[in-house]
């Protein structure tokens, strides 16, 4: 029997593929957020204690919480905004908000969920802010990703590097290139699609956690994710 033509075909080594073996990174269904510092697995009760101390005004406890969560918050912001400086600024704003809001935080709820929810929110606000000021977020796979600002030079998404046109797959530069490629493509998705892909496929949050963070139903996450993933694949595919 004749096989239908294959519509999507990855080339064997797309330039954006990571050099690490996927199997080393864990199974299909994973529970730990990926893309975060995996060594920081704080026991639930320890964090609750820190939260409660922070709620009482203990700034050293708050700083400890920042250190525990800044990786995740920054990483989400970076993938959502595609710009290192913007992501850093937003990440700081997230913790400022957290500092202001932590008195009312239910210490038994998960801090990470709350922080990421704030992050998504602030990223969306930041984009709108740029849009209002007619500063476009340049999302192009051909040039470095950055917020195009009048009067400012273009900056790369990661570390302001110049792209190496033919990276060797195993090098750190190639890793950067790959990340940049993906992040660049992500910027072309709409906000809702980008957020579910970033949260699920880069950070590994569950459907329920994502529903909490985005304040929608699990069913919405499910359908958005399907469309988002297919769209992202089409983008990555088309640019190869």
């Amino acid at each position: 029997m004749s096989e239908p033509p294959v519509s999507h075909q990855w080339s064997p080594t797309p330039p954006w593929r990571g050099g690490t073996s996927p199997s080393a990174r864990g199974a299909e269904s994973h529970h730990l957020p990926t893309g975060t510092a995996r060594g920081l697995q704080v026991v639930g009760s320890e964090e609750t204690a820190l939260v409660e101390r922070a709620q009482r005004g203990d700034s050293s406890a708050f700083e400890a919480l920042v250190r525990l969560h800044q990786q995740a918050v920054f990483a989400v912001a970076l993938r959502m905004l595609g710009d290192q400086d913007e992501a850093q600024d937003v990440a700081q704003d997230v913790f400022v908000r957290a500092y202001q809001g932590i008195p009312a935080f239910r210490s038994e709820a998960k801090l990470s969920t709350w922080l990421v929810a704030i992050t998504i929110n602030l990223c969306r606000n930041r984009r709108r802010w740029w849009a209002r000021r007619r500063r476009l977020i340049v999302a192009s796979l051909d040039e470095p990703v950055g917020m195009s600002r009048a009067g400012f030079g273009e900056e790369g998404a990661l570390g302001h590097e110049v792209a190496d046109p033919s990276p060797s797959p195993a090098s750190a530069a190639a890793q950067h290139e790959q990340q940049r490629f993906v992040i660049s493509a992500l910027q072309q998705l709409d906000e809702a699609h980008r957020s579910v892909v970033v949260l699920r496929d880069i950070h590994g949050y569950s459907y329920e956690e994502i529903a909490d963070m985005l304040q929608c139903h699990v069913g919405t996450v499910k359908s958005r994710l399907s469309r988002a993933r297919l769209h992202l694949r089409a983008l990555l595919d088309g640019k190869l």
């Binding site: 096989e3 239908p4 033509p5 294959v6 519509s7 999507h8 990855w10 593929r17 990571g18 690490t20 996927p22 299909e28 994973h30 990926t34 893309g35 975060t36 510092a37 009482r56 005004g57 700034s59 406890a61 920042v66 250190r67 990786q71 918050v73 920054f74 990483a75 850093q88 990440a91 700081q92 913790f95 400022v96 500092y99 202001q100 809001g101 008195p103 009312a104 935080f105 239910r106 210490s107 969920t113 929810a117 704030i118 929110n121 890793q175 790959q178 990340q179 993906v182 699920r200 496929d201 880069i202 459907y207 909490d212 304040q215 499910k222 994710l225 399907s226 993933r229 297919l230 694949r233």
Partner: protein, 362 residues
């Protein structure tokens, strides 16, 4: 049911995440067995996802300096909103502190949910208007930082030897009290070292409303476990301060409070009382009844506000309302079930007014 490949493609994503219904899953797997195109389509999707998951975490810059800089630029009133009164013992959750009042008045951190002026209805809906949607989702209901200004240190307050119990109704919300108690910077501020300064545009709560024999007794009172109402001296109604509300200490009815903002808040609650119907509960002992209700409400995650020693405003999760009406109401006319406009949702809160009616013991 015949589906084409384009339709099956929409199932790939939930299939990978093991979120398909069993029959959908077997249907898809059956199709995959027959369709090489979909097989490779699925495989390419899986490969993309594996690569995404394998993305290295970016190097995170040090955020703390920037955070501190931003916080330092906060307007003064925002910084104040984060100040807390009194050192909370570690064992007590911030939103609720149970006091045993044995002649001492202690300031309690309180908060008030935002009452919406609901249209005429037998039950008031608690509609909070959070400024921050995200915060609302994770916030404890009924909590807002309480701001209270003191113009004198505790040790200058009237001594407990004075036999004049004061009624202090303390309702906190930033609209009522704009003041803040600035504590020293240590993580366990000692009240005696509290740096007190009057704040501009903030109403001053007169000294008399806050009474403690000494700093240590004030602090000790905070650490006491939920009061046993029977341990309270007769004649001094004692209420537990729970959730966001508290009447601290007590006074015979008719004693005027010396706190204008408290009066205002109480009048506001009282006027809302007139607007909405309330249920009555016949009790033999007001204090015991109030304490019992407080304990129960707290166990349900709700809270009780006192308008005066006879009138309470009870806030509960919707799910607990029927039980409340069964247990704490003598009204035969009170509805046995609550019918609200929207389907029941455990995150919604309802506020009901309750009147305690003293009736002679049998």
């Amino acid at each position: 049911m015949l589906m084409d490949c384009a339709e099956y493609k929409r199932w790939f994503s939930p299939y990978i995440d093991e979120r398909l219904e069993p029959q959908e899953r077997s249907q898809l797997e059956q199709h995959l067995g027959k369709c090489a195109g979909c097989r490779s389509d699925l495989a390419s999707l899986q490969e993309m996802l594996r690569s995404l998951r394998a993305m290295e975490p970016p190097e995170v810059p040090e955020l703390l300096p920037g955070i501190h800089a931003k916080l330092a630029r906060e307007p003064w009133w925002q910084r104040l909103a984060r100040r807390f009164v009194a050192p909370w013992p570690a064992s007590l959750p911030l939103h609720g502190a149970a006091l045993a009042t044995t002649g001492l008045l202690v300031i309690v951190v309180v908060g008030l949910p935002h009452f919406a002026r609901a249209p005429r209805a037998s039950l008031r809906q608690l509609a909070s208007k959070p400024s921050d949607e995200i915060g609302e989702r994770f916030a404890r209901r009924g909590y807002e930082p309480y701001h209270n200004e003191k113009t004198a240190a505790f040790d200058r307050m009237a001594s407990p030897a004075s036999n004049e119990p004061q009624l202090g109704f303390l309702a906190g919300s930033s609209t009522v009290h704009n003041a803040g108690l600035t504590m020293s910077e240590s993580s366990h501020p000692d009240l005696e070292q509290a740096a007190l300064r009057p704040l501009p545009e903030a109403p001053t709560i007169p000294e008399k409303t806050m009474v403690a024999g000494s700093v240590s007794s004030a602090v000790n009172a905070l650490t006491v476990q939920p009061a046993d109402a029977t341990s309270v001296p007769v004649g001094l109604p004692a209420y537990q301060a729970v959730g966001g509300f508290g009447v601290v200490g007590g006074a015979p009815a008719g004693t005027a409070t010396t706190c204008p903002p408290c009066e205002k808040k109480r009048a506001e609650l009282a006027s809302q009382w007139e607007e909405h119907s309330h249920v009555q509960w016949r009790v033999s002992d007001l204090a015991t009844a109030a304490a019992q209700l407080n304990g129960w409400a707290q166990s349900k995650g709700g809270s009780v506000a006192t308008i005066d020693e006879h009138r309470l405003s009870v806030t509960l999760p919707e799910a607990a309302m029927s039980e409340f009406l069964t247990q704490f109401s003598s009204d035969v006319s009170a509805p046995a079930t609550i019918s609200l406009d929207a389907p029941p949702d455990s995150t919604r809160w309802v506020t009901i007014s309750l009147e305690l009616v003293p009736s002679p013991s049998p």
